[in-house]
Every structure is written in structure tokens, then in C-alpha cells.
Subunit: 236 residues, 4 copies
């Protein structure tokens, strides 16, 4: 007989390790400075999630300092890291994980090129095939919403629900990405900044040619089904 | 009974270690090249401060090579590092630390995006929420002042006294930041370059939307009181 | 007597090592993010080639995970790495290696500055001598072609056959480079992004002066015959 | 009695070590890609100089692979590294070292921002104090000259002789810097790219304010006499 309490404890520990390791990808890929940015991951088989503590430097993050939260975003009392405040963006992560059961992880950054598009409240148009592959078209802009209630989370969900894109540019703020797993959401954050930069550069010296919609559709469909290895990450 | 001389010696040593370690953040965050840039920190419980030696490469900086100065900016005779000339910006640091007793550390850089705004003598407008959080509005421009007397220090103090921003763009020169601690001033220098870059990118392809003043106020107020961990750095 | 099977096995192993090592140059030179980009190399004395597996992170690439393909781009059954899917760009590499027998290696990236030119479908004009040296004039644009058949490979070959440039900007897509060896193709990919960036910067503040055609010709001719060491890489 | 032959041998060895170590600064500071760029240093007490071999990767450079040349730029037969071709820019280095006896080292790069100014054949205007400090005013443009005879060297010398700037932008080509020592010339190459970038950024969003000539003069004069440590590098 398996002990469900031990199973959950193991799942929590594994999720802590995963989230701590994924945070290292944010500075490595130039998406964050100092303590900005955060990753959350749903603990499989539960409605809890693990997230970065607030205001802690990336080099000081370990599995044990990650904060375990319940579905409302409250810290689980007595858990490792429960002496820390969770990320000040926790409410937004909790809202998304609660409202989108298919999402396993959420990433938030102020990566510079994507945030520049967000400051102009302009979606990133789909002018490169890598963007059609990853996002299936333009990357949309969400509403202007300030921290402190559910408005950021609601803005993310309203923009991304039913949208091909797994990234949203929240107006004047930054990027939120989602994925079936936290690793997939991190990949989406990396690719979002990459295409935000390339498309920015393309517009600096003229007007790039848009990709025909049927080609965008074909590229997106193919990438969802063929790219990568069968057993790897969020892509079949 | 405690020996006040030994206490001061310990405080000086701890400040040397802190300032040497903080200097490593400047090249790591892309704020400086070669020997440019410098950090100073007040020695707690004294009116002395520790600063970088002039023209020394970042990889050669150690706690012992940091220079100890009195409140006027003169090297303390016989102290470790007193065979070195202190940074050529020492007079400006001394002026700020003397006139602003609430300031525990000062940072100076020529970080490229911020210095580009300084060369145009344009304040950085507040169009991203991270800037409202950190700086409470625009980052202001200080006067054109050349090295050699108190005019740089005076320009910093006149611009920042009573201002929410802990960063000033000195005209045609570069950035000075202040903070309750040197670590906080370093964070401000990192965030200043980050927002200078993002806002630069935002203006390159159009005009970003400004954030309403009441939202700026709410974000700034919240960040001063909620962000981070209670026991960490300059933020409650 | 030499055993031809063993000789081929040794050649395959050496090519695997070479291709795995060359992949490390792509992130090191800022040409790729996450799993994008790929290098292929012909196995000397055969019509097989070695290429990156699909969707695998750069830090996880080893000689053994490289995929061995036949001239049509099909995985060689039973070979090391044959449990992996090869790069989704394999058909394009296979086409080029099949149609251009003088080519020993092919590189594909979405490097940001070059891809920005590709998104505007503008060739990079030859306004710096390094570009005359390496590419003998402008870097041309190939057709818009989507993945899934021979159209990308055909576009590369039709653009580069008889052209001095070893790099082509595939419309709305990215860069393909060729060379007598895979190392030479990697060098071309690095130099292509370098000149794409410098020429981009040059056009941002005005119009650069074009180099007279006879100077371009003289520089290209000289670089092919004089630069480098006799025994090194693809250059005499 | 000292043996002059041994003294020269020691000076050659020390110069080889210095030049090999200084080359590492070029990629570390983002001034070069692949094998481009080179540093030369005069061997003290002789009219020989040491320079990078042609087309060799930076990570493969050692003191022994540096090439020793006589004043005409010919390889010294039988010396270490004499089996290598020296840099294809050797004639330009030789010309400068021959014609400017006060110069101890020369650096050449295609660093991107500076080369963008060179492609437009525009001097970099002096709009930041760091530029007044280092270069004493604008960084000038030299003539368009192709490799193969003395015309590059002559263009460098004609532009820099009597000029405050230790850097010249050779038209459509790149940067050459000089200094009393090779280390000083490397510093000038690093600072040249830094100011080329900052001034580029400044012009992207408007017109920077120029610094009054008397302030430029005062800054330059002060920096030559006060900055740095007495015993360090080329600066008193």
C-alpha cells in the first residue's frame, strides 16, 4: 500500500528542485536582472504550487527556499520556505493556475525587448517563421492592471484563453507565459524575448514582410506535432 | 567593556569586504568597462567611508586595496590602501555622504543606456511598472558639472533631495545612485540601467503609453512596504 | 590490408565529435537560444552526414547523441543516436549536401540581426571591408519557403550556387551557411551575424558609404588566398 | 657584465607573454569575433615587435605562437612562431610603430559600434565626459585604404599624428588604437567601443548636447595628469 502523504511530500520536493533549477534559466538567458522575474509550478496531483520567494537574488535560490502555496496563493504553514514571503506576483500565478487547469507552470519576466512592446501596448506581429512555430501568430497584449488584487491574473487568463500564444505582454508591465509544464513556460519566455528582439530589429530599418496566414497555420500545426523528441518536455 | 577602537576597526574591515564584493556586481551586470565606475559605503558608526582606488581593474580589487577616507574625502593616513589614490570621483561621494546622513552608500557608473539619456539631458519617463516600483516616477537629470570641485556632489544632492528617485542622470556624464546601504545603491544602479534600456527600446518604435500618476503612486507605495523579505537589504 | 568498414566507422566517430564540438560555438557566439539552430557535416569518403537531434538543449549534446543520416536525410538504422529524431531541418541539409558536392558542412541559425534582414527580405549591403573579405559582396536573400518538402534546400542551392557568399538569408526565416568543412560553415554563420549587426548599426544613424566594386573584388580575392595559416581550416 | 643577447631574449619573451595575455581582453570586452582583431607590442630596447598569428582562434593563442617581426614587418627567421604567418594587418602595425617612436603598442578591431561609425565615415562627436577624458574630443575618421601596401598604416599615422585621440576609425573598415604601451592601446580600444555605443544610443532618440570646448579641454588635461595610480600602466 502506498502512503498518499509521502507521495505528496515527494511530489512537493521534486517540484521544488525543478522550480529552483528553472529559475537559473532566467538570468542565463538575459530575461531578468537582480531579483526580478519568477517561475511557478503546480505540484502534480495536488492544487498546490511552488514559487520563488520575494526579493531573493538568483544565486541564493535553492529548492528549500522555494515557497509552497495553496490554490488561493497563501503560504502552506510549516512547509520549508514558509518563513519567506512568496513572490509579490503570487496572486497572479495562483489565479492562472486555478482558472487554467491545463497549465502546469507560469513564468513572469520584464525581459527588455518584450517589455518595450508592452510599454507601447503593441502586439508583436508574426513576421518570422520561428514565431509562427512557437506562438502560432502574433503575441497579444493584455490589459493595464496593477498589482494588489486579481486583475493581473484575470487579464492573463482573458487574453490567453483560447489563444494560440502561450505568452502575453501585460500593458506597461512585462511578460507572462504559460505551459503544460513549468519548463515549457520557461521555454516560451525565452522564445518570446528572442522573437521580440528580432522583430524589433526588423522594424528598425523598415517594414518586415508579414507571413501569409495559411503558412502561419501550417508552421504552427507542424511544430506542435513533429518538433523535438517524443519523451521530452511539453512537446510531443 | 568593549574597546571602541577595535569596534571601529572591525566595522572598517567589514565595510571593505562589502565594498570589494559589491564592485563585482558592476561588470557582472554590464554597467562598467575597464576601470570605470565606483562604489562607496559609509563605515557604520563613523563619518568615514570606503571607496574604490583610482584606475584599478575590477579583477584586481580586494578588501585591502579599498581606500578609507574621512568625511572630507581625504585618505586616512596609515590605513590599508592608503598608498593608493582613491577614485577620482571621491569628492562627489564625500559630498553626498556628508550632506545626506540617511544615505549609506553611493554608486557611480557610465552604464550605456542611462548615459545616452544623460547625453541628451532627458529624464527617463515612467512608462513601465518596474520603474514606478523602484523609482516612483521619472529618473531626473542633474546639472552639467565637471570634476575638480564640489559641483558634481552638489548637483546630485540638489537633484535627489526630496525626490523619490534614488538615481540621477548627471548631464553628459553618467549615473549616480544612492541608498540606505551600498547594496541598495548598487541595486538602484542595476535597475536604472535596466529601465533606461527598456524605455529606450520602447521609444525606438513609437511612443509608449505613460502610466497614470495614481497608479505610479500606488505601485511605489506598495513596493516600499511589501516587496522582499523583512530581514533583507534596504527594503522592509 | 585496411578494413573499409572500420575506416568508415572511424570517420563517422570523428565527424560526430566534430559536429558535437561545433554546436557549442552557436550559443557561445550568441547565434541561438534554447534548442534552435543546427550544424551538419558530411562524413568524409561517404554520402552520409551527421546532424543535431531535434529539440535537444545545447548542454546535453554529445557525440553519441548526434544523428547519422544517409544522403536522403533518413536516419541510418542501428547507428548511435538512431533512437532520436534528427533536426527538423534535416531535409534542407540533405538537399544542400546532395546537390553541392563541394560543400562539407551546413549551418542553420535564427541569429537576431541576420534574421531581421531576412524578415525585411533585404540583402545585407557590402559596406565594411570584413564583409568584402568573407562574403565577397552582399549577403543575398533566398525565397520564402516552408518546412516539409525540398523547397528550403532548393532555395538555398539556387541562391548560393555560383554566388561568392557562403551565407543566405532565407526570407522570414533565418540564415543558412555552407563551407568546404562544417567548421568553415560555422565561421560563416558567426561572421554573417557580426556583419549583419554592424551594418544594421551603420544604417540606424544614416547611410553608410558603399565600397567600390573593384575594392570589394580585390579584398575578396586576397582573403581567399592569403589570410590564415596554410594548414588551418577551410582557408589556404 | 650583462649579455645583450640574453637581455633581448628576455625582453622578447616578456613581450610575447604580454601580447598573448592582452589578446584575451579583446573577446572578453566584446570587441572581436572568431579570429578578427590583433594586438602588437614593440619589444623594449629594440625595433622589433610581436603580433598575433593570422587566422588563429583566441583560445589557441599562447606566448609561443605570437610572431616576432622586424621593423619592416618581416618575420624574424628561426624565432618561436616563425612557422606561422603573422596577422594580415602586420604591415599597418609595422608602419605605425616605425613612424611613431612614442607608440609602444597598436590594436586593431572591427568592434561593432565603432565600425558602424566608420562605415558612415562619421567621426564620433564628444558628447560624454568619459570621451573628453580619454580622447580629448571627437574620435576622427581616417581614409579608405585597402590592405596590401602601406596605405592603411599611412592613413593611421596621418590622422593620429598631433591628434589628442589615440583611436582612429578607418573608413569602412574598423578601429586602430595606439598607446605608449600595448596595454594602453587595448584600453583605448575598449573605451572607443564603449563611447561609440553610448553616443550611438544617444543619437537614436534625439540630438545629444555637445560639451563646451573649454570643459573638454579641462577634462582631458585633468585625466592625463590625475587619474589612476602613479605606478600603473600608461597613465601617470
Amino acid at each position: 500500500m502506498t502512503d498518499p502523504t509521502q507521495e505528496i511530500a515527494r511530489a512537493v520536493d521534486a517540484t521544488r528542485e525543478e522550480v529552483a533549477a528553472l529559475h537559473a534559466e532566467l538570468p542565463r538567458n538575459g530575461l531578468v536582472v537582480w531579483t526580478s522575474g519568477n517561475v511557478s509550478a503546480r505540484v502534480p496531483g495536488t492544487d498546490m504550487f511552488v514559487i520563488k520567494p520575494s526579493g531573493v537574488r538568483y544565486e541564493d535560490l535553492t529548492a528549500d527556499t522555494m515557497v509552497l502555496c495553496d490554490r488561493s496563493g497563501s503560504v502552506v504553514p510549516g512547509s520549508a520556505g514558509s518563513d519567506k514571503h512568496p513572490s509579490s506576483d503570487t496572486a497572479a500565478h495562483a489565479y492562472v493556475l486555478r482558472e487554467m487547469p491545463e497549465v502546469g507552470g507560469v513564468v513572469h519576466t520584464h525581459s527588455p525587448y518584450a517589455t518595450a512592446w508592452a510599454a507601447r501596448r503593441q502586439p508583436i506581429p508574426c513576421v518570422i517563421t520561428a514565431m509562427a512555430d512557437e506562438f502560432g501568430g502574433e503575441i497579444p497584449v493584455g490589459p493595464f492592471a496593477t498589482i494588489g488584487d486579481d486583475s493581473i491574473g484575470r487579464g492573463i487568463v482573458e487574453t490567453l484563453a483560447g489563444h494560440r500564444s502561450r505568452a502575453v505582454l501585460m500593458a506597461n508591465h512585462g511578460v507572462f507565459t504559460i505551459g503544460p509544464s513549468a519548463a515549457d513556460a520557461v521555454k516560451a519566455a525565452v522564445m518570446c524575448e528572442d522573437v521580440a528582439r528580432t522583430v524589433h530589429l526588423a522594424f528598425q530599418l523598415g517594414t518586415p514582410v508579414e507571413i501569409p496566414q495559411d503558412s502561419v497555420d501550417a508552421l504552427f500545426d507542424r511544430y506542435q506535432h513533429i518538433y523535438g523528441q517524443d519523451s521530452q518536455g511539453g512537446r510531443p
